[in-house]
Each structure stands twice: as C-alpha cells, then as structure tokens.
Symmetry: C2
Subunit: 503 residues, 2 copies
C-alpha cells in the first residue's frame, strides 16, 4: 500500500511519468497545476518534453496549449519551451526560455487577470480542456485529494478536463493536510450566490479537492521539491520604499482613514514586498491579517511574531530556509494559514468587501498615474499582470511601487506616457519609489503629474519630466491630460535604440 | 400645507432659491444630486451662479468644488461653468461649457469609476463635504425623502454633508414614489457584509432616503423639467452595429454559452445603444432583465412589449415622448423598474454575480483591444469613463462599440495604439463597428490584431492598419505586442495637425 495513494481504485492507475506522458496528444489543451513555482507537476511535463523534442526533431509538430494557475518552474515551462512544445500559454509566466519565445513571437501568450481564468474556462472562452495534470499531496481512501502547496485553478481543471493525470508528490509536507479551503459554491450566472466570506480567516469550503475517479487516467508518484524561491535580505532601495509606505500607513491611521490593525494586506512577491513585510515587523503592529495570493518568507516571519494573526492565499513561495521553518512548525502554521482557489483569493467581490491594501510592483508609471506592469518598452512581455489588476481595482488602497530607475539608471520608472497600460489612472492611488511617495487620491491629472514628478522621479530624470510636463501644458492639443504626442513615447524609443532613456 | 413638503419641521426651512444660495461659501465642497440629466437641483445652482458671477466680476474669487452623481444639465454644470464658479468637478460630465473649461486647463476634473465615488467619499479621499444640494420628489410627514428621477450618490451626500439644501421638484411625477430601492447596508471595511442581491429585481433597501432634519438648512420648491434627452431613430450605422451584436447573441446561445433569456443587460446611452435595444425588440426575446445605470426610451419600449421583464438602474434619461409614456403608465412601470444608489447599480460584487452583458460606446480601440473611452487624441476630455469600467471589468461579457470612423471619415475608431487607455486588453472581449464584430476572447495580442483589423476597421483605414501591423511584427523590439514606437501615435498627431488621421 502506498502511503499517499490510499484509494485502491486510483492506485490501479499508477504508472511511470513516461507512460503517462504518452496520453498527451498533439494539439490538446492541457491544464496544469502550479502557482508561483509551487505545486506544479514535476515529472510528466519532463517526460512529455522528451517526447515532444523527439517528434519535433523528426518533423512531426507536437505542440499543445498549456493553461496553469500562474508561473511554474524549469521542470514545466522551461522544458516545454525548450522542446518547442507550446503553441499557447496562459496566464502568468516567469520562465526565461518561455519568455524569450513569447517575445520572439514564436507562441501565443494570453495575459489575463488571475481572478478571471477559472470563470473564463467555465464560460468556454478557452474552448475545451482535454487533459488536466495536477500535483496533489495525497489521495484519500475515498478518492478525495489533498491539495499540494498551491491550489490555483486546480478545482476548475479537475472539473473541466475530460481526463486527469495526478502527480502525487511525496516531497510535499504531510502537514499541508487541513490547510486548504476549496470553495465549491460557484455557479454560472444567472445562478450565482453571494460568497459568504467576511473575514480573511472565514472557512467557506472543503479541505479537499474532488475528482471524478472515472476521469483519472494516470497516477504518477514523485518525490521532488518545489522551485526554490531564494530570499535575499532587502537592499537599501527596497528598504527606503518600504519606509515610505510604513510612514504613509502611520499617517493614514492618525488621520482616521485606516484602522490601527490596518486592513487585509495583499502583497506581490519579490524584494520590495519582502522589505515592506520586514518593515511591518518593526512598526509595532500586531494582529494584522493578509488576504493575498502568495505566502512568502516574510509572511512566515510576521505570523511567527504575531504581527500577522493569519494569512489567506492560494500558494506558497518559500526559500529553502523558509520551507525548513514551515516544516518544523507546520502545526502552528496550519492554524494561521489558509490556501484557497485563485478565483476566491482574487475575487473582486471578496477583495472589495474586505477592503484590502494592495501593494504591487510595476515596470513603470507615467506622470498621470497610468501603470505598466507587463511590457518592457511597450512591446516585450515580462511576466504578466498576475493578480495586480484584481487587487488594484477593488482594494481599499492600491499602491504601486518600484525603484525609480532600473538597469543602472538607463531606465526611468517614471515616464511621460506609459508604453503599455495595465492599470489605468482610474485604478491607481499611490505610487512609491525610493525617492518618495505620491498620494494621488482626489487629484486631477495635472495635480497628479506635479506630485509624481516631485515625489517619485529620480533626480537624473526629474528635470526632464518637469520640462516635458511644462511644454505639454503649454502646447498640448487638450489640456486635461497634456501630452506632446510626438514625444510621449520618445524615452522608450531612445532606450530601444541606445540602451538608455537618458538623452 | 404644501402637497410635497409634508414635514412640518422641514417646511419651516422653506425659502427662495436666491436665499438658499447665500448659504454657499467660496471654497466649499458641495455635493449635488443629478445623474445623466435627471434629478439634479434646478434652482439653487442658478441662483448661486448669479452670485458667483457678481463676485468674480468684482474680483472676489468665488469658486467651489462640485461633486455629483454623473452628468447634469445647463442649469447646473452650464451656469456654474459660465460663472467660472468651479475649481474642481467630479465625476462624469457632458456639458459643453464645462468641457471647454476642462480642456483649456481652467479647472481640475477628476474622472473616476461611477461605482467608486460613494466609497471614496466615505473613505475621506475627497476631503470633507460641506454642503449637499439634493433634488427630491417630496418630503414625508416624518421627514423621509421621496427620491427624484435619479438616486445617484444622494444617500452618500445626505449622510456625509454637514448641511443639506433640499429642492422639492413639483414637476417630478407623483408616481415615482415606490420605485426606489435605497440600500442602507453599506459599511466601511473591515465591517462589510455581502450584498444579498441575487437577481436584478431583488429589493434590498428602503423606498426612501433618510436625512438628519437638523442638517437641513433650506428647502426650496421648484417646478422645472429634467433635461430633455432627445431620442432620434437609429441611423443605418447604428443599426448595422446592433445587427452584428444581435447575430452574436444568437450565435452564443446556439453554442450554449449564453442562456436563452440572455443575462442582465447593461447598456450605455446614445444612438447605438438605442439601436441595440430596438433590435432586441425584433429578435424574439422575452422575459429579459436589465441591470444598468440609465433607463432610456428604448428600455421603456422593451418593458412595455414584455421583451424586458424588468430593469434596475440608478436614473432615467427620457425624451419628452418617453416621459409622456412613462407618466401615463406609471403604475405599470413602477412594478418593473427599480432605481438604486449608484454604488449598488455599479457595484463590482453585484455585476460579477449577475454576470451582466456590458455594452458601452468608445472613442477608439487599438488593434490589441485597448479601449479609450474618454480622451480625444489622448489629451482632450470628452465626458468621462462613467460606469463603463465598473461593468466591463466584472461582466460576463464586455462589448465596446463605435462607428468605424468619425468626423466624416477623418478619424478612425480603430488605431495602432490607443492614445489613452481606460479599459485594458485584460478587460475587453468584443469590439463592434458597423463593419463587423471581433470576438477577442481567448486570443493573444497578435491574433486579436489580425481579427480587429479584418472585422472592425473601415476600408479607408484597413490597409493602413494592416501595413502598420505587418511592419511592427517585423521591426518591433519585442514581438509579443508589436509596435513601432515612433509611429504608434502618429495618427493622432496627424489628426491634431491636419484635421484628419488619413495621410
């Protein structure tokens, strides 16, 4: 008897990854688990990539459409990209090989709000799902599934796919069991009901995922770690950004615009986000909550110290040290962490009701507060919008943050006109760089521009932005949102041509 | 005893509009009723404008900040603009004099989602509200207020303002009483509860508005009509746009992606919207619902014929003929129309749950499906985003529609790059012009571009767009969203310089 595969019926379907991979046919739409490098299938995609490479080398095109929760890892996106095995990929991705192919125009990539993926699938907007490949932490006697280190879109994949391949990963901690809350109350309009979640720690679903056992065509055992998410201590720039945000929180509390326990925090991943979390630890806060997508190292620290009472998310993204801490104290964390499907972690209804504080990174903002989260110089895809739009639109407060320059000063984070817009002026409230914080709430476009240039721009770019804005105010066709159309994107053009936005 | 002012206590506050206007002080933030030319105060703003003009002429600056529900009429926005009496205005507006001042840079205008205005006010993002001037249809003995022909933000204005001036408009039909549903269950986070509205006709609130009588400093009687919204029969272009949409609905029903009774309809105002409504009347539909902002003539027709079972909105916008029809049959319509506060008519929670079909006009879309709803040539404000963002983001289906050209062919509705983005590629699903319909769901940027150019562009511009896209695919820095940065906004530049986008 296998420890983790306790259903006799499903145990009969056990086979090797190489065998399971032969069930994938060219042209299929294949939905896979995985969210920010956690809980993705680790064996079948690698076997599949070998098959694909062999066929593609032989001139027999073998490509599939791949849907996931969000980004995965080299063992999934990386190997499938190398094998030139994807004709379509959605939603968020962060694999270098895949990104290169997207930007070379070699495959179709659909960048979509993470909170929309599940319902667009139910609606049939992505067509039929032929196969799901989903990692789980175990299978119960009755066939229910213990979710893995991410929930993502797995409920949807298991329900919508014709056939299912399960990867049971022995490496995932036993202690994950009991940490999930899988909401099964969704419906299609016109039959939808309110989602009765009023606090981040409300449980509204099941501990387990369900699957029709008749659909399960393969069960593959694995024993492989999630992608390691290295954690580096915050650098000075990140610390300064965090400092501005923490000062702003204190100011808002003093003004009576924010409760002393703040409001549920949503935080993107990365250095700046970790610095903000680290800053919260020293701010005298306690009993806070998070309603977010990803539990990263910084969140564990806050939970341990009591600064954070609990966190709701859809995935983990831990470093080796973070994982060690988690495994050693899993009973403690299980009482304080909930993993939900991403259509609930990112649901507009819930985010608006809870009144989250959304903190997300960006590539650039323009002087009017339009934010580009996805495209370098308007044309090159970085990773995707992720959940930033789900949270920015519906949160109590939407904060976007970035260093004021990138590439050693060659790129300004504040530009005359965003080269691609993912978050419009209507959805952005606060911009922060290490230079300062611009609170744009209740300001008109020109008031915003003056403040953003003053507070957020790097000194190397500040006079250039001020000069652009002055001339635009004088010469623009319309003077509600002044622009010089022939010059608005010239900074990006210069960067593409010369490698720097500086003249 | 006054018929419409039945509260003895409030009757004591009755005075002339000229007297009431003297209660307004320079620098005040004044919140006024009014939504798409319905239910706005008709006397006090005109008296106030006279005061302002006198003071401003004498060199004593008299300007105020004006918040409304949406657009009003010449008797409010028009006269205050003429008097140069506004330093700030939000949200949506459509008055020519006001628009000219905005685009001359003479006052600050904040363009914001209509569904965000109330909560941003509660959050304190617009500062303190000194005074509310609200039109009502009557005052009950106990001081409760019969709402007028729009609800808009009136609940918020009455609650948040220090002082209140009521205009009781005898012109408004008696029959309005009983048609409103004013939700009083809102709260600030972290104390928010689900909004238990599951169908467009669910009642969740009160018939009347409440006001603290101690705050009422003036009651002014008026007898003046709402702004007349002229209704012209759909022209051929509008009919062709409507035809494409109706064909698409049939196709979606056949594919099983839409119920036979469709889903709750949201419709912008104007010719194209009226043509779509008229088209529905001939499509064999019955028992449909609308969950929208404005009841226009076309909606009354559909309700009368039973095509529409009922409509939920926040305001009326009727022609003289429409009003006559409404007044003659008010008992019939009262059973089939609900007017709600705009924070409920435009609430993301409710719109997502109901799964609305959102149909809104646009100024332009780019080949990748980014939509500009607000700015001519990127700089000149037209009216504002209105509720289009509230609906486009959260509806089951988001449709944007426009003639393929404007100004006799000098402007293309489809451009290489949108000169301002109000709805990102992540939020737009279907584009329609009289040329055809582009269903962009499940498509990557380049797939979208090919389809939009093929289906929606005018023949005069189609080869130019195809040429731009081909060259961008060849020469763009990144090839996920190909663009030629030096040329992307050249069509708008050419229009500003020469009066035409054509070379």
């Amino acid at each position: 008897m296998h420890d983790r595969v306790r259903s006799a019926r499903l145990a009969e379907r056990m086979m090797s990854a190489d065998e399971a991979a032969t069930l994938v046919q060219p042209g299929m739409t294949v939905a896979m688990s995985g969210f920010t490098g956690a809980g993705y299938p680790k064996a079948v995609p690698q076997s599949l990539a070998k098959l694909m490479a062999r066929e593609n080398d032989a001139g027999n095109t073998f490509r599939i459409k791949v849907l996931t929760g969000a980004s995965t890892a080299p063992e999934l996106d990386g190997v499938l990209a190398e094998a030139k095995g994807m004709e379509l990929r959605l939603p968020f991705q962060s694999d270098p090989a895949l990104r290169n192919q997207i930007n070379a125009g070699e495959l179709d990539y659909i960048d979509i709000h993470l909170g929309h993926v599940a319902q667009h699938t139910w609606f049939g907007f992505f067509g039929h799902i032929d196969l799901a490949i989903v990692e789980v932490a175990g299978i119960l006697e009755d066939g229910r599934l213990i979710p893995s280190s991410s929930v993502g879109n797995n409920k949807t994949w298991l329900e919508q796919a014709d056939k299912v391949i399960l990867e049971v990963n022995n490496w995932q901690p036993d202690g994950l069991e009991g940490m999930h809350d899988v909401y099964y109350g969704t419906a299609l309009p016109p039959n939808r009901k309110p989602i009765m979640l009023e606090q981040p720690d409300d449980r509204i679903g099941d501990l387990y995922l369900h699957v029709d056992p008749a659909k399960v065509v393969a069960v593959v055992e694995t024993d492989a770690p999630d992608r390691n998410s290295p954690f580096s201590p915050p650098d000075e720039t990140s610390q300064r950004i965090a400092g501005h945000i923490l000062e702003f929180f204190e100011h808002e509390i003093k003004r009576g615009r924010m409760p002393e326990k703040l409001l549920p925090l949503q935080s993107g991943v990365g250095n700046v986000a970790n610095a903000v979390l680290a800053g919260l630890a020293t701010g005298g806060y306690e009993g806070l909550t998070a309603y977010t997508e990803v539990i990263q190292d910084g969140m564990l620290d806050l939970i341990k110290s009591g600064v954070l009472r609990m966190a709701s998310a859809t995935s983990f993204s831990l470093s080796a040290a973070g994982l060690e801490e988690f495994n050693a104290n899993v009973d403690f964390y299980r009482e304080r962490i909930l993993l939900r499907p991403q259509e609930i972690s990112n649901h507009p209804e819930v985010i608006r009701r809870l009144g989250c504080i959304a903190m997300n990174g960006m590539i650039e903002a323009d002087i009017y507060g339009n934010v580009n989260s996805t495209h370098i110089a308007g044309t090159k895809m970085m990773n995707g919008i992720g959940g930033s739009g789900d949270f920015a639109r519906n949160s109590y407060l939407s904060i976007f943050m970035s260093p004021s320059t990138a590439k050693g000063g060659a790129i300004s984070g504040i530009v005359p006109m965003a080269s691609h817009v993912d978050h419009t002026e209507h959805d952005t409230m606060v911009l922060v760089t290490e230079q300062g914080l611009a609170d744009m709430r209740g300001l008109s476009p020109k008031q915003r521009a003056r403040l953003v240039i003053e507070k957020c721009a790097h000194p190397d770019y500040q006079p250039l932005l001020a000069d652009y804005f002055d001339r635009a105010c004088r010469d623009s066709h319309g003077k509600h949102t002044p622009h010089l159309l022939g010059e608005a994107l010239s900074w990006h053009e210069r960067f593409v041509d010369s490698g720097s936005m500086l003249p």
